[in-house]
C-alpha cells in the first residue's frame, strides 16, 4: 500500500534482527509460537486428522480428559458422540481462523479505506460514507446476519461476508477520527508545501501513524468475530455440521456444561489463547513499528547494552 519508490531506500533490518527483537519480548515470542501452531493446525489439521475427528465412538461419549487408555487423541476427552476433542480442535482451527481472519481483514481493509476517504476528503462523499456507517451500526448485526444467511446458503464465504459488513463501522469511525487529527499535524502541512500528492500524504504520512490503533482494534475484533460466528452457528445459520469451528464446539458443549465441562472448555481455551496471542503480538508490533519506542526491544536483547541515541 505504501509508495513503493521510497521502499527502495536501504533498510538494514535482517530477519535475524526481527527475531532478536521478538525474543526480547518473551510473551510476544510465545504468542508467536502459539499462533504458528494454530496456523499449522489450520493448514495440516484436516489433512492429518480429518478422519479421526469425525469418527464416532458411542462407547466413549463424553469421555473425561487426561485419560490416555483410548489413545493419545482422547487426552482432552471426547464429545457427546465420542469424537476425540483434541483432533476436533486441531481440525476446527482451519474453519475458525479462516472465518475470523477473513472477516477481520475484510472489514479492516474496507473500513479503513472508507475511513481514510471520509477523514481526508472534504467532499460530499465523505458525508455519505459516514451515514452509511451509521446505517450499518444502527441495524442489529445479528438480525442482518439472519436475513442474509436465510436468503443465501450458509457457507464459509457468506459468513465471512456478513461478519465483515457488520464490523466495518468500527474501523470506519476510528480511522476517520484518527485521520481528522493527523491531517492537521505539521508534518502533513510540510508535505503539502513540498507538493506531495494526496495519495502520498494519505499512504505515506497519515496511514502509518493511524495503523497501530487499527491493528490493535483488529486483534481485539478477532475474538469478537469468533464468538459472533459461534452464535450464528448456534442459531443454525452459521457453519453447518459436520463442519466444525471452535465457536460451534463451545455452543454444542453448552448443554453438557454441568456434567462434562471439557466439551466447551478446550475450544474456549483455544479461542482465548489465540486472541491473547494476537494481542500480545500486536502490542509487540506496535513497539517495533514505532521508531521512538523500538529501542525498548533492542536494548533488552543485550545484557550490558549501552544505551546510546544512535543504536540503530
Amino acid at each position: 500500500m505504501t509508495d513503493t519508490k521510497i521502499r527502495a531506500t536501504p533498510k538494514p533490518r535482517s530477519p535475524l534482527a526481527w527475531a532478536a527483537m521478538l525474543w526480547a519480548d518473551k510473551l510476544a515470542f510465545f504468542a508467536a509460537l502459539f499462533l504458528l501452531l494454530a496456523l499449522l493446525s489450520a493448514l495440516l489439521g484436516p489433512w492429518l486428522l480429518g478422519d479421526l475427528a469425525t469418527k464416532q465412538n458411542l462407547r466413549g461419549r463424553n469421555a473425561p480428559p487426561f485419560d490416555v487408555t483410548r489413545g493419545w487423541a482422547y487426552v482432552l476427552g471426547a464429545d457427546a458422540l465420542g469424537r476425540p476433542l483434541l483432533a476436533r480442535i486441531v481440525v476446527a482451527a482451519q474453519n475458525t481462523l479462516m472465518v475470523a481472519a477473513g472477516a477481520v481483514l475484510g472489514s479492516a481493509i474496507i473500513g479503513s479505506a472508507l475511513g481514510l476517504v471520509a477523514g481526508y476528503s472534504r467532499r460530499r462523499a465523505a458525508q455519505w460514507i459516514m451515514r452509511l456507517g451509521d446505517v450499518i451500526m444502527s441495524f442489529p448485526s445479528l438480525l442482518l446476519a439472519v436475513i442474509v444467511l436465510y436468503m443465501l446458503e450458509p457457507s464459509v464465504a457468506n459468513i465471512v461476508l456478513v461478519l465483515a459488513i457488520t464490523r466495518i463501522p468500527v474501523y470506519l469511525r476510528t480511522t476517520r477520527a484518527e485521520v481528522l487529527e493527523i491531517r492537521e499535524r505539521m508534518f502533513v502541512q510540510a508535505a503539502r508545501v513540498m507538493g506531495a500528492s494526496d495519495r502520498r500524504i494519505v499512504f505515506r504520512h497519515i496511514l502509518p501513524v493511524a495503523l497501530p490503533t487499527l491493528v490493535t482494534i483488529a486483534t481485539l475484533d478477532f475474538a469478537f468475530v469468533m464468538l459472533a460466528e459461534s452464535s450464528l452457528s448456534f442459531l443454525g445459520i452459521g457453519i453447518q455440521p459436520p463442519e466444525i469451528t471452535w465457536g460451534l464446539m463451545v455452543a454444542q458443549g453448552r448443554q453438557y456444561l454441568t456434567t462434562a465441562w471439557w466439551l466447551s472448555f478446550w475450544p474456549g481455551l483455544a479461542i482465548i489463547l489465540t486472541t491473547l496471542s494476537l494481542n500480545l503480538l500486536s502490542n509487540w508490533l506496535r513497539i517495533v513499528l514505532d521508531p521512538a519506542q523500538r529501542w525498548r526491544l533492542e536494548m533488552k536483547g543485550r545484557k550490558n547494552g549501552r544505551p546510546s541515541a544512535g543504536s540503530l
Binding site: M194, S197, H205, V209, M299
Partner: protein, 540 residues
C-alpha cells in the same frame, strides 16, 4: 544560616530513565531572601526547574530520587517533613505559577470559584474567600472583577489568564512565589505588563520571588540576583547586573553573546528590478474574524523580509496564504510576475519547489516514522526531475554537512535529535528542493537562545551561498534585527509600518512599532532599568 527565607543546600536529584540514570541537578545551592527576586537562568535540559520542583515536592519519586542535600524553609528542613506538612506549606507559604496558565486552570469551574477554593482549602470561610477572590482579581488588573468571578478560563486572554494564576497564587499571602517561565507564552507587550505586576506585588507584600527563565531579558528586567545553570550544575551566581557586565564563566559569556539584537544591521538594499514575490491586497476571513485586511508585500531576490507581530496579527495567515496552504479570499500573489492564484495545478506543482517553508516546531513538522534520509529525499520522490536516484545518498550527506550535521545521521529518526538539530533537518529538507524563497514561520522561536543564534547564522550563510530569499515570521523584534533586510510590522491583519531594518529600529514611526520595541526586553540590566524609568515617567 537561618536568616534566609528559603535555602537549598547541595541538592542533588537523579532520575532513573530507560537510558540510565540522569543526574538532573548536582550539588545545587542557592538561597532566597524576603523581598528579593532570584532568577534561575538556563537553557532547556539545564535542570533549572528541578530544584524548584524539589521545593514544591513536585518530583515524581520514582523515577526521581533526591540523593543528597537539604531544603531549608525558615531554617527547617523540608525534606525531613511529612507529606501532610509539605502539603500545608504548598500554596500557602510557597505558591507557584506556570508557563501555560490554560493548562493549570480547571476549565469547568469559574475563576472566582477556583481562587476562592485556594482560600478555603487553607482554612478560610466561604464569605471571606469570595471577598478575597474579588479583591485579588481587582489587584491583578482584571477589568470588572465582579463579572469576572463568574467567567470561565477560556473567556480570558493569555495575559489575563496569567494574571488569574498570579491571583490564585497570592490567595494565601505566600512568603515565596515561584514563577516557572511565567511570560514565555505571552506576547512581548503583555509580558512587560505581567512582569510589572509581579514587581509591584512583590514590593507590596515583601515576598521572595523565585523566577525560572531562559530569557536574559526577563532576568535583566526583574531579577536582583541570578543563578546560571548548565548541565545540572550552577556555573555562576551573583548580582544580575554584575553577571551581565562581567561574566566569569565561559558558558555565561556564550549565553550573553548569543542574545539577539546586538549585531550590525545590514544596509539598505537596492530594490529595483523584478521582485521575486509580490502580494497585492490579500484578504482572508475566518467566519466573522478578518485575519488579513488587504496586505501588500514585496520580496526581492536574495532579500530577507521579516514580518513581526503579536499573536492574532495575521502573520501566519499571511505565510500560509503565500504558500497557498490556505487560499486567501481576495488579492493577488505574483511570483516573478505570474499570478499564483490563477495558475493551473500542474504549473503550481512545479512552483512548489521554489517556495518552501520551515515550521515553528520541528518536533511536529518532521514525520516521526521516517528516517532523516527518507525525510530529506522525499523532496526528490515528489519532484522526480531534481535528482537521479543514484545521487540521493551523496546529496543527503552533502545537505546534512551543509546544515552542520554529520552524514552518518541519515539513518536516524527525528526523536533522536535535539530541538536545534531537528530544525536543521527541517532546513535541509527545504534546501533539498533547491528553493528560491523559504518562508520561516517562527522558525527559531521554540529554540534555546544559543541554538537560535546558530540557526540564524546558518540561514544567513545559506542565503549568501545560494542567493535565497526569506520571508521570516517572528513575534520578537530583536531576533530579526541582525538578519532581516526589511521589516514589516503587522497588527490586527494590517501592516502598520514597513521599512528597511535600520530605519525601523532607529526611528520607528508608528506608535505600535515603538511599543513593540520598548516592550521587548534587552539582556542588559542597565538598559532595562533605563527603559523602566522612562516608562514610569511616561505613565506618571
Amino acid at each position: 544560616m537561618a536568616d534566609h527565607l528559603l535555602e537549598v543546600c547541595n541538592l542533588s536529584v537523579e532520575f532513573h530513565t530507560a537510558a540510565g540514570t540522569v543526574r538532573a541537578v548536582q550539588n545545587v545551592s542557592w538561597h532566597l531572601d524576603r523581598g528579593e527576586t532570584l532568577a534561575i537562568l538556563g537553557e532547556s535540559g539545564s535542570g533549572k526547574s528541578v530544584s524548584a520542583s524539589a521545593v514544591m515536592n513536585l518530583i515524581d519519586m520514582p523515577p526521581g530520587r533526591i540523593t543528597g542535600g537539604r531544603i531549608l524553609l525558615n531554617g527547617r528542613d523540608m525534606l525531613a517533613m511529612t507529606a501532610e506538612q509539605r502539603r500545608r506549606i504548598n500554596g500557602c507559604t510557597i505558591a507557584m505559577i506556570f508557563q501555560d496558565p490554560l493548562a493549570h486552570l480547571n476549565p469547568v469551574y469559574s475563576v472566582g470559584w477556583q481562587i476562592a477554593e485556594m482560600v478555603t482549602t487553607h482554612g478560610g470561610t466561604r464569605d471571606t474567600a469570595q471577598a478575597r477572590a474579588r479583591d485579588l482579581l481587582a489587584r491583578v488588573g482584571i477589568p470588572d472583577p465582579e463579572a469576572a468571578m463568574r467567567k470561565y478560563p477560556h473567556q480570558f486572554s493569555g495575559g489575563q489568564r496569567q494574571r488569574l494564576m498570579i491571583a490564585m497564587a497570592l490567595a494565601c499571602k505566600p512568603d515565596i512565589l515561584i514563577a516557572d517561565e511565567p511570560t514565555t507564552a505571552l506576547d512581548v507587550t503583555v509580558q512587560a505588563q505581567v512582569l510589572d505586576l509581579l514587581q509591584e506585588l512583590q514590593a507590596e507584600t515583601g515576598m521572595g520571588l523565585l523566577l525560572i527563565t531562559h530569557d536574559l531579558g526577563v532576568v535583566a528586567e526583574i531579577a536582583d540576583r541570578v543563578v546560571v545553570m548548565n548541565g545540572g550544575q550552577i556555573v555562576e551566581t551573583g548580582d544580575a547586573a554584575e553577571v551581565y557586565r562581567d561574566p566569569k564563566h565561559p558558558y555565561t559569556r556564550k549565553l550573553i553573546d548569543a542574545a539577539p539584537g546586538k549585531g550590525a544591521m545590514p544596509d539598505e538594499r537596492d530594490r529595483t528590478g523584478q521582485p521575486l514575490l509580490r502580494a497585492e491586497g490579500l484578504t482572508k476571513t475566518y467566519g466573522a474574524f478578518r485575519a488579513l485586511k488587504g496586505v501588500d508585500l514585496t520580496i526581492m531576490p536574495g532579500e530577507t523580509v521579516a514580518v513581526v507581530g503579536e499573536s492574532g496579527s495575521g502573520k501566519s495567515t499571511l505565510a500560509r496564504a503565500i504558500l497557498r496552504l490556505d487560499d486567501p479570499d481576495g488579492g493577488r500573489i505574483l511570483y516573478r510576475g505570474e499570478d499564483l492564484m490563477a495558475m493551473a495545478p500542474r504549473r503550481l506543482f512545479g512552483l512548489r519547489r521554489d517556495l518552501q517553508m520551515v515550521f515553528q516546531d520541528p518536533t511536529q513538522s518532521l514525520n516521526p516514522r521516517m528516517t532523516v534520509f527518507q525525510l530529506i529525499s522525499e523532496a526528490w520522490v515528489i519532484h522526480s526531475d531534481i535528482l537521479p536516484r543514484a545521487r540521493w545518498r551523496d546529496r543527503v550527506a552533502e545537505l546534512l554537512v551543509k546544515v552542520g550535521l554529520s552524514p552518518d545521521m541519515a539513518a536516524r529518526y527525528p526523536h533522536q535529535f535535539s530541538g536545534g538539530q531537528r530544525q536543521r533537518i527541517a532546513i535541509a529538507r527545504a534546501l533539498a528542493m533547491e528553493p528560491k524563497l523559504i518562508v520561516c514561520d517562527e522558525a527559531v522561536s521554540a529554540l534555546d537562545v544559543s541554538i537560535q543564534a546558530q540557526v540564524i547564522a546558518l540561514l544567513d550563510g545559506l542565503r549568501r551561498e545560494f542567493g535565497l530569499s526569506y520571508l521570516f515570521i517572528a513575534h520578537d523584534l530583536p531576533v530579526v534585527r541582525d538578519f532581516a533586510d526589511r521589516v514589516i510590522v503587522m497588527k490586527a491583519g494590517e501592516i502598520v509600518e514597513e521599512g528597511p531594518v535600520r530605519r525601523m529600529f532607529e526611528s520607528p514611526r508608528h506608535p505600535y512599532t515603538r511599543a513593540l520595541l520598548s516592550a521587548s526586553l534587552d539582556p542588559d540590566p542597565a538598559v532595562q532599568a533605563a527603559r523602566r524609568a522612562a516608562r514610569h515617567l511616561e505613565t506618571a
